[in-house]
């Protein structure tokens, strides 16, 4: 499997520090400014569909025409030790704590908690989409991001089921695959991606990945110390199934609650066993044919 660092090194002097997003969902207020800014800047076609009835999420999922997707989760969590709803006094006390930590989980007195999270292409270190792309349309940029070259893509669709996050999709009427480019055009002009610039709470933070990792660790420490024990970093480590990601997250619940896989693995990690079985089956087919033809009497 190609190594992302190696891919970037092939740029030589043009290689740039790897950049990405740290999406801190504890700061998200669900305004969808990221969705709008992304659509505007990248001229992504509208995809207006009927209301879902699933909280405030009418965008549904990432896809060819949705490169940022804000998820809305309403949870009724037992907040007292006995599982009973917390009193207003207790809630007020907790809100002081929230003020100190800058926490935005919007827990209400009756135990209703809101989780909001802006999802995006993860720009994986080991990107399955890039590995399986037969045309080379998907490539690793000098910034370490993963981008589709629209003049090369022939719409074979292999990347669509290869992505462990369900990010890529083919655009209706266009035939090619589209996804977040991490605003490749803006990066080349030393500007931050449109979604990060539009985010009013800095829930979406753009920067060099090394810097973002340090910031995320501090944030995790602060939230945990403030009693937010469910806080966790997602895709922040290089030893996960995709080698870590360029876009990583701070979540306040299990990943699957947000529609994210808890243990995504780049499918090409198992490529060795896939090709071995394929070769063995080909040999078995040859042996079967030989046995059938040579095994019996002449004719």
């Amino acid at each position: 499997m190609p190594d992302a660092a190696l891919e970037v090194r092939t740029y030589g002097a043009e290689a740039r520090p790897r950049v990405g997003f740290f999406t801190d969902t504890s700061l998200c207020i669900g305004c969808k400014a990221c969705e709008v800014a992304c659509k505007e800047w990248n001229r992504v076609p509208d995809d207006i569909a009927p209301w879902t009835g699933d909280s405030y999420d009418n965008t549904r999922a990432l896809g060819a025409d949705t490169w940022r997707h804000v998820a809305f989760i309403e949870q009724r969590v037992p907040v007292g030790a006995d599982g009973a709803a917390r009193s207003l006094v207790q809630t007020a006390a907790a809100e002081h704590l929230a003020d100190d930590a800058g926490l935005e989980t919007h827990q209400e007195g009756d135990g209703l908690r809101w989780l909001m999270a802006s999802d995006v292409c993860k720009h994986c270190t080991d990107a399955a989409c890039l590995d399986v792309c037969p045309t080379g349309a998907l490539f690793r940029t000098e910034f370490g991001t993963v981008v589709v070259q629209q003049d090369i893509c022939n719409g074979c669709g292999y990347c669509v089921p290869a992505c462990p996050f369900g990010v890529l999709d083919r655009r209706e009427g266009d035939g090619r695959v589209w996804k977040c480019t991490l605003c490749y055009d803006r990066l080349k002009d030393d500007r931050e991606p449109a979604c990060a610039q539009a985010c009013p709470t800095d829930s979406i933070q753009f920067g060099e990945l090394d810097v973002l990792h340090v910031r995320a660790e501090k944030r995790l420490q602060t939230l945990t110390a403030a009693g937010q024990e469910e806080a966790r970093l997602y895709l922040a480590d290089s030893d996960d199934g995709v080698g870590g990601a360029g876009a990583f997250f701070l979540l306040l619940d299990e990943p699957e609650v947000y529609g994210l896989p808890p243990d995504p693995v780049a499918t090409t990690r198992d490529l060795g066993s896939v090709w071995a079985a394929t070769g063995a089956a080909a040999v078995a087919l040859g042996a079967g044919i030989a046995a059938a033809v040579l095994g019996g009497r002449r004719r």
Binding site: R60, I73, C153, N154, C156, G157, V160, E229, V293
Partner: protein
């Protein structure tokens, strides 16, 4: 927020409004039909070469013709599935071993060229031997991976029902290729010359049914698509057609030309339904968030993997 939430196990798997984690494939029905024609082409080339070496020229000629016809329609099926068919040549911009589709494109091109030469020689005798002999050998050699790489293509995705069957899926495809290539030969070859095709048809059918059963059992709960919906119906049809076809070929194929043809047609139908079943199963599997999250959660719970998230 809640301390309890951290320690009490979830009654069932969480999901985001029951929506899929993965995207379903965008591939059209041409793709499973190509899996079928690619299998016929690949295994027919091998059958033709072996029959020719054994001196059974009648079977060899017909198998070469079947191989050439099947490999001839295959590119058309693939190109029509592309979102941008006019860019089909981009498939040959690179050779990428991490992409079974790239490897397969080259195998198909090589197989198509050599099989066409071999078939032309088998029917005209006009191709000079220094060209025809290596063409036959190459066509037969490339035919074997042509019949099985399509399983690698499916297995090398995030779709659980395909990916978790990666060690057995190529054998399902190989068995289906053997069955359908010999069944195609039975349609066009007189019974006196078709004994090897009958043996291969029955052996292939037994292998196909066995490999499919092993695959669905090993998949456990992930194999649910094969028990419901379109994939389930196609799998049942494949089983019925394959067993019936093999019985007819084994019982009457040597004596009666019409019986051999009927058996061959049943086997071809079974092989086509089998590919269709596997293809549809992927869509059903990708649409089920529990199929994606369940095995990942279990691997984390068992301590085999640490998952992609980390608390303080």
């Amino acid at each position: 927020m809640s301390v309890e939430g951290a320690t009490v196990p979830r009654a069932e798997l969480a999901s985001y409004y029951g929506r899929p984690v993965l995207k379903p494939p965008v591939w059209t029905p041409e793709i499973p039909i190509y899996f079928f024609t690619g299998g016929i082409a690949g295994a027919s080339a091998g059958l033709a070469l072996a029959a020719g070496l054994r001196g059974n020229d009648e079977l060899a000629r017909r198998a070469w013709l079947n191989a050439a016809a099947a490999v001839g329609v295959s590119p058309a099926l693939l190109v029509s599935d592309l979102g941008r068919p006019e860019r089909f040549l981009n498939m040959l911009r690179l050779f990428k071993v991490t992409s079974p589709m790239s490897v397969g494109s080259w195998v198909l091109v090589g197989s198509g060229l050599t099989t066409t030469v071999a078939a032309a020689d088998a029917w005209s005798g006009l191709v000079p031997a220094p060209v025809a002999r290596p063409a036959r050998a190459l066509a037969a050699a490339l035919g074997l991976p042509l019949a099985t790489y399509t399983a690698a293509l499916l297995a090398n995705t995030a779709v659980p029902v395909w990916h978790e069957a990666r060690r057995i899926l190529p054998f399902v495809f190989a068995a289906g290729a053997a069955t359908s290539a010999s069944a195609a030969a039975l349609l066009t070859t007189a019974p006196e010359a078709a004994a090897p095709a009958r043996r291969l048809a029955v052996g292939g059918a037994v292998a196909a049914v066995t490999a499919t059963e092993v695959m669905t059992r090993r998949l456990g709960p992930l194999g649910a698509p094969y028990r419901s919906g379109a994939a389930g119906a196609l799998k049942r049809a494949a089983l019925g057609l394959t067993v019936a076809g093999a019985a007819v070929v084994a019982g009457l194929g040597a004596r009666s030309r019409p019986a051999a043809m009927a058996g061959g047609a049943l086997l071809l139908g079974g092989a086509l339904c089998e590919r269709g079943s596997i293809f549809r199963a992927g869509f059903q599997s990708a649409a089920d968030p529990d199929a994606t999250v369940g095995p990942q959660r279990r691997a984390i719970a068992a301590g085999e993997r640490r998952g992609a998230s980390r608390r303080k």
